[in-house]
Subunit: 189 residues, 2 copies
């Protein structure tokens, strides 16, 4: 038996990402975002939705670029902080002791301490309602060498990304290996 | 030191969702999708991107509705299967022994066995490239009562959603509690 929760933004899993931008004066800003996901394979694109009221919103409209830095569990406190405080009021990189690294590909900074970063140029802007969705073309994905595993590929258990539970308001880590994609389903005739 | 992987759809975490639709004849179909995420809080919306070549694509265009069913780890095999086989060739609900439940709110079926389901009416369609993004307004979220925890809220450790690693092609579970959102960041001055 299922219980009805009504119309709400409740789904699992949602990510914890840090969106990096520059403001008009070139000050780096970073905010937390959980409303997003990959949205196209060719060109490779990622979508992230922000409220117009955020400082980052204006930055993306102005600079037509943003980065997504994937914090590891060890950066959960910093990721939470940049989701609470506005870049209008604070230099969040400085306050959280995070390093803004200027992207060589797009006009935006990423978080040096994060094990995985995506550098994106703005491709589409979709007004939906309270949130505006920015679709960014992924020009590069960079991963910390210490987070690479077998065959030199990123190891999710070393990146240790964070999940956000949007109903209970909690963060969770990545758990055990469940199975191989495009393989375990072949057991079904 | 970070290693560059180039322009690709590589980010953590990405979800494993099952998208439910009806075809023209009313046959229920379900496919796996990892390209998606919440994209607006008001109205509550979720985005999911599909290739035009999929059977589900035509179904959503026709019916202007879809559901998202969140499989638990125990359904990883079924979720993988519905991502491998096309609804053009098979009755995937029947083959995977899944139950199509007709939504009372939108013109689409959901997977009865999944602990969490979202019923969505199509709000926007965005052509991006290989993928088309469908933005659905979430009319209801239903959660299995056995997956509820304290205070009657969905418990992520009972829902046990699956994560997809799009580079190594593996599925992973949810791990340990990391911290409280909107709280642990307040330790930073």
């Amino acid at each position: 038996m299922k219980k009805s929760f009504g119309p709400k933004t409740l789904v699992f899993p949602t990510p914890v990402w840090m969106v990096g931008t520059y403001d008009k004066e070139g000050k780096p800003n970073v905010m937390a975002a959980a409303w997003g996901g990959i949205c196209c394979s060719r060109p490779p694109c990622v979508a992230v939705s922000l409220r117009k009221a955020t400082y980052s919103y204006g930055n993306i409209v102005e600079r037509k670029a943003f980065t997504i830095s994937v914090p590891s569990e060890t950066l959960a406190r910093e990721a939470d902080y940049v989701g609470i405080v506005s870049g209008k009021d604070a230099d969040k990189f400085a306050a959280a002791k995070l390093t803004p690294v200027r992207s060589a590909l797009v006009d935006a900074p990423y978080v040096g301490e994060c094990p995985m970063v995506l550098e994106c140029r703005l491709l589409h802007t979709l007004e939906i309602g309270l949130h505006t969705q920015f679709v960014g073309e992924i020009l590069d994905v960079k991963v910390e060498e210490s987070a690479l595993g077998e065959k030199g590929l990123p190891d999710i258990e070393k990146v240790r990304p964070i999940l956000f539970d949007p109903e209970v308001n909690t963060y969770h880590g990545v758990g055990r290996f469940v199975g191989k994609a495009y393989k375990i389903g072949r057991e079904i005739p």
